[in-house]
């Protein structure tokens, strides 16, 4: 880059500031996770100086979790809820998003604004009425009762609608002229093109639902329906000073979403570039 006479260091200063703030942000964000791992290995971060690298790593917290008789049940429930809700959300929001993006029907605009409005309301606000509904339908403490209500996700519908909006209508029109029906267009043309958005949605849904604590707490009235967050919370609650087991629980909870994130990021970055259009 050519130097501007009289101001030779502007570019370098800007770069230093940018890099410094990025590194600082990363440290601030990742340091608590590092501390979590340290605590889970019995590192004493309250000592003077703090023990940032455990001198004698102790895995007893992990052993307590993995050897708990209910651990397998918690893991299974976590996978059932996560995969069930995520899959259901992806299917429901794909259809909803497509309808809002591509179809014309009476009240479409007003309905869309309603969906947007629902995004502003915290999900917790709907827990009590949902609890009452599920109780009346005798679905409390059942897999259906835990999986079905979260499938209706305004955020996911909005995300898919925006993704479909970004796909030029030319693809559908040429498929329509070639004789494709609307379901064929959706499943063989639009959804494959929207794969990066679907992967992103799946990733977000997986992480949200894997870590979901409040909703199963409300609906799962017996311990056999608990998922991993609930199970670990209950375990640690019995040991009031056992911070390392709680920390180990946090690390275990974070492992699966972390792996999913690594896989999903690689796919999303690779993606399928929309290169079938000449604009």
């Amino acid at each position: 880059m050519a130097k501007v006479k009289g101001r030779p260091k502007t570019g370098a200063l800007f770069r230093i500031a940018a890099y410094s703030s990025t590194i600082l942000s990363l440290v601030i964000y990742f340091f608590p996770f590092y501390l979590l791992v340290v605590i889970s290995l019995h590192g004493n971060i309250f000592a003077q100086p703090p023990e940032l690298v455990p001198a004698n790593p102790d895995f007893s917290g992990y052993v307590a979790i993995f050897t708990n008789p209910a651990f397998f049940e918690w893991i299974m429930n976590s996978f059932i809820y996560t995969i069930g809700i995520s899959l259901g959300t992806i299917i429901m929001s794909s259809f909803t998003g497509y309808a809002f993006s591509r179809l014309d029907f009476p009240g479409k605009t007003q309905l869309f604004w309603l969906v947007l409005g629902l995004m502003m309301i915290p999900a917790v606000a709907s827990y009590i009425p949902l609890y009452v509904m599920l109780a009346k339908m005798k679905l409390l403490n059942t897999y259906w009762g835990i999986i079905i209500p979260p499938i209706a996700s305004p955020y996911s519908a909005f995300l898919m609608k925006q993704s479909f909006d970004a796909i030029p209508k030319d693809y559908e029109e040429v498929a329509y002229i070639d004789g494709a029906s609307r379901p064929t267009i959706l499943f063989r043309v639009i959804l494959p093109i929207a794969k990066p958005a679907l992967i992103t949605l799946a990733l977000f849904q997986f992480v949200w639902n894997w870590n979901n604590f409040a909703w199963p707490l409300f609906v799962a009235t017996s311990p056999r329906m608990w998922n991993l967050p609930l199970g670990i919370w209950n375990m640690v609650w019995s040991y009031t000073r056992d911070f390392w087991t709680l920390a180990a629980g946090g690390v275990v909870l974070m492992l699966v979403p972390f792996v999913m994130y690594l896989i999903g990021v690689e796919y999303f970055l690779r993606g399928i570039v929309v290169t079938g259009l000449k604009k």
């Binding site: 070639d178 004789g179 290169t275």
Partner: protein, 371 residues
């Protein structure tokens, strides 16, 4: 035999204050095996007309007939038309083979037949070597051929083209339009082609439908459109550089007919106005617009022996290939003229120009129609 007929077709978008008449009472017939071009500026309704024929839009009124079938309310599949889009719209997640095969797969044809037809079509368009590639790996010209192949493979009744050459560079556009014209003739499929490029239209069309603001202005062969424009819009739109349009009056004085304007005044042969303007109108003076193409206005350095010669000043000169265009300031008008390639004169210098009366056109200034 496949003809396409539009019978008083109109298309209106919106209502009330936001109402837009995109197509206004269009009626014409595309003959069997003909390549007709819908030509007009942006917003003239040509793409809307094409979409109405394709079935992507439903007319507000009127009927569309393909072959002997009224298809106005039918879906595109039921009309058996194929369309090439300006953007080509190749499915990015499918290979070239799968893109071309897609219309056949939807119809659940046997795999062997699909393979055979795709390869045959690819052979015709010289893209057999591209069948395993993805659209992202193709050049603009290759994408265009794949889009063509996808349309051809179905053997449709009618081809529709929506500005398929717009995204190609100038050189490729010239070679490809010749290829398209030849392909259409070889296949013998009735075709409707949309473009805003008049050179493209004049080159490939059997007939041209000129559109402006949703209305059909003229339907004729390229030659007739160029030599006998029916109104001022067509006269000004067709031709590059565009026709000179001079506002003036025709009037009778002392038994002679004159054309009078701020830039040129000259006597007209009596027979030129016969059957075009009444004697009463000539006595009062009729407002007309005189049209003459640049190639029919010759610029020279000296008056010479021309019967009708006018004086002006050079505004600018443009040498395009071996054609020397000289813009001449005459009165308050600037006229486009042609001079010999070696003609050199400075801006602001005096120059003479003459008309070829055989090639002037007169339009009624009020109705805008050809006299």
């Amino acid at each position: 035999m496949v003809e396409v007929t539009l019978d008083h077709v109109s298309k209106v978008f919106g209502e009330g204050a936001q109402k837009v008449v995109a197509v206004d009472d269009a009626s014409f017939t595309v003959k069997d095996k003909e390549l007709i071009v819908l030509l007009g500026p942006s917003g003239s309704g040509k793409s809307t007309l094409l979409r109405l024929i394709a079935g992507l839009e439903i007319p507000t009124s009127g009927d569309i007939i393909i072959g002997n079938k009224v298809v106005t309310e039918l879906t595109p599949k039921e009309r058996d038309v194929a369309m090439v889009f300006q953007s080509y719209a190749l499915y990015p997640h499918m290979s070239v083979f799968d893109n071309i095969a897609f219309p056949l797969k939807i119809r659940k044809l046997p795999r062997e037949e699909i393979k055979s037809r795709v390869e045959q079509t690819a052979e015709i368009l010289n893209i057999k070597h591209l069948l395993n590639r993805m659209p992202g790996q193709l050049s603009g010209g290759e994408m265009q051929r794949v889009a063509l192949a996808r349309s051809i493979v179905r053997n449709p009744q009618v081809f529709l083209f929506d500005e398929p050459l717009s995204n190609l560079d100038a050189k490729l556009r010239v070679t490809t339009r010749g290829f398209l014209k030849r392909l259409q003739k070889d296949l013998g499929i009735t075709s409707i082609y949309v473009t805003h490029d008049q050179e493209e239209a004049m080159t490939i069309a059997d007939r041209i439908v000129v559109l402006d603001r949703g209305k059909v202005q003229q339907i004729d062969s390229p030659d007739a459109i160029y030599s006998k424009p029916q109104n001022i819009f067509v006269a000004g739109f067709i031709g590059s550089p565009p026709m000179n349009l001079i506002e003036g009056r025709v009037l009778m004085r002392s038994g002679k007919i004159f054309f009078s304007s701020e830039s040129v005044n000259f006597e007209l042969p009596q027979e030129m106005m016969r059957n075009k303007v009444t004697n009463e109108e000539l006595d009062k003076g009729k407002n007309v617009t005189l049209g003459i193409r640049p190639e029919d206005v010759i610029a020279t350095a000296t008056p010479g022996n021309y019967a009708r010669v006018f004086k002006g000043k050079v505004y600018i000169t443009e040498l395009v290939g071996n054609t020397n265009y000289v813009m001449v300031e005459a009165g308050k008008m600037i006229l486009r003229t042609v001079a010999s390639p070696g003609f050199r004169v400075e801006i602001g210098k005096e120059v003479y120009f003459t008309f070829d009366l055989q090639n002037i056109h007169f339009f009624d200034s009020e109705t805008q129609e050809r006299l």
